[in-house]
């Protein structure tokens, strides 16, 4: 006779409380498949933990964002934010969809070139570009977004010995009504620094001022702030048109659109509070179209959206290592995914789902990672199903930043796979191994 499935015995104290109309559905629905591929099969083939990216979700999200903007504004160009996820396979999907590259270091710049992006379609942001990197960007006709006067004068100095005319934009920081205001990057709008930078570029005959850029912050819940930012950039563009008779070719409103993850301490879940692409698009497009800019010379709108395009496509699959009780009597579950692989767990309440059907019983659980570090907490006090040692789980919405800010710390980084639109699973980054780490180390002679 076949035995019944075993669930660990469980007892929970019932707490009486005020009924709430905001009561949320208990999270017991498992994620058993990703793009019709069984989670158990992916773990069997590629180990645990393993990152999974869905090509279909990436393309769908991109199309949704593109549609929101192109239906409202005539000239739109996306530039894939490399720092959000620079695995080559991911970048190439975005480039296939028509995205340019937005990079913030020489390393990312070279990666974009190696992914076949034309130099003229690379936006070079960041506060720390070396002279060699700037020279390369100038030679390749890339769009250099100037962060400070020292960089501007470095570009002018390089251009004196170059036949190329550098194509530059200035990064503008401004008050958009949000706190804290990001003012460490670029030139300030309100203080007049931005105009000072514009005037110095315009009177210098070596540089072409082609764009204006702002990146007002990250995880912006307010579409209205983008409206203010786009409006201020449009004012600058109109001022340049009037003063110098030059039409700015593009306005770049940066990135910062929120995904649907829930920030720690947030009262409502991110899925209820995050603005849609349509709301962001409406705010930005209306600010540009309603500005003083001559409609016949409307600048291209560039978007450096990262997180909102890739977060939903990423999953992190893992396995329960052990269950224990803390001194308070609360349940603790130890899993094989640590904060070294899930950097975003420091600021998100990540959604964790069982990978197989479970009963409706949930227990308040703290999920700890495998690192021998007190900070290694994936979720604190989550209502979690009664998973046993060896059971698998799926952490949802982790595609942004985790595959660039991950750390080789105590453990090695695992495989990353892509569920392709061809229905197959593709390995896109191999798990690290001891030799890879040790080959970078050098042992001095007297220690051999």
């Amino acid at each position: 006779m076949e035995k019944k499935p075993f669930e660990r015995p469980f007892i929970k104290k019932l707490q009486a409380g005020m009924p709430s109309k905001f009561g949320m559905k208990s999270m017991t629905e498992p994620i058993t498949h990703i793009d019709d591929i069984p989670v158990s099969e992916i773990i069997a083939d590629y180990g645990s933990p393993v990152y999974v990216l869905s090509e279909k979700t990436i393309r769908d999200q991109f199309k949704k964002a593109k549609h929101a903007f192109t239906t409202r504004y005539p000239k739109v160009q996306f530039a894939w934010s490399y720092k959000t996820n620079y695995l080559d396979a991911v970048c190439r999907i975005f480039h296939q969809e028509g995205s340019w590259a937005e990079v913030v270091s020489g390393f990312e710049y070279d990666k974009a070139l190696q992914n076949g992006v034309k130099g003229s379609q690379i936006i070079f942001n960041g506060p720390a570009k070396t002279d060699e990197e700037l020279k390369k960007a100038i030679d390749n006709d890339s769009l250099i977004h100037i962060d400070h006067f020292d960089e501007m004068y470095a570009i002018i100095a390089i251009s004196e010995n170059s036949e190329k005319r550098p194509k530059v934009a200035i990064r503008v920081n401004m008050d958009t009504g949000i706190y804290p205001m990001w003012d460490r990057f670029g030139f300030n709008y309100e203080s007049g620094d931005a105009w000072d930078a514009i005037n110095r570029i315009m009177v210098n005959e070596k540089l072409d001022l082609v764009g204006l850029h702002a990146h007002i912050g990250t995880y912006m819940f307010s579409a209205g702030s983008y409206k203010i930012a786009a409006g201020k950039l449009a004012d600058l563009a109109y001022g340049i048109e009037r003063k110098y008779g030059v039409n700015i070719k593009y306005i770049d409103v940066g990135g910062g659109f929120a995904s649907q993850n829930t920030l720690k301490g947030a009262y409502y879940p991110g899925s209820d509070t995050t603005p849609s692409f349509d709301e962001y698009a409406e705010a930005i497009s209306s600010a540009l179209l309603n500005s003083q800019i001559n409609p016949r010379n409307l600048p291209t709108l560039i978007l450096e959206t990262g997180r909102a395009l890739i977060d939903d496509a990423g999953y992190l699959l893992g396995t329960v290592i052990a269950n224990k009780r803390l001194s308070s009597g609360n349940r603790a579950t130890i899993v094989d995914v640590g904060v070294n692989l899930l950097f975003t767990s420091f600021w998100y309440e990540h959604e964790v789902y069982p990978a197989a059907p479970v009963s409706e019983h949930m227990e308040e659980t703290t999920i700890f990672g495998p690192l021998c570090m007190n900070i290694d907490v994936i979720r604190d006090a989550i209502a979690f199903p009664l998973l046993k040692k060896g059971d698998h789980f799926v952490i949802k919405r982790i595609g942004a930043y985790n595959m660039t800010q991950w750390m080789q710390f105590i453990t090695l980084r695992p495989n990353v796979v892509l569920t392709g639109t061809d229905g197959k699973v593709h390995l896109i980054r191999k798990q690290e191994h001891m030799d890879l780490i040790r080959q970078q180390e050098v042992i001095p002679g007297h220690l051999k």
Partner: protein, 84 residues
């Protein structure tokens, strides 16, 4: 190990402690173990029955059994003064 005599347990896994007024809910396996304990069974008697009925090995069952007992103790549902 015994359950306090005045504890009420319903078939659906609902537990009521009239001394404190607290209520608890259990899953099916929890209720089954509690029933065995009320009947005065020991771990050595419960273990073979559960491993026979469910897909669980003895070591794993024992681990979950003691974890469950620690929760009963935490909720003061065990009668530890009148231990055999």
């Amino acid at each position: 190990m015994r359950i306090k005599k005045n504890i009420a347990i319903s078939d659906s896994g609902f537990v009521f402690n009239p001394t404190t007024g607290d209520s608890y809910s259990m899953n099916r396996i929890g209720r089954q173990i509690l029933d065995y304990l009320r009947e005065g069974n020991t771990l050595e008697e419960i273990k073979p029955r559960m491993t026979e009925e469910y897909d669980v090995d003895e070591a794993s069952f024992e681990k979950y059994y003691f974890d469950f007992l620690s929760m009963l103790r935490q909720f003061e549902l065990l009668d530890e003064k009148n231990e055999d």
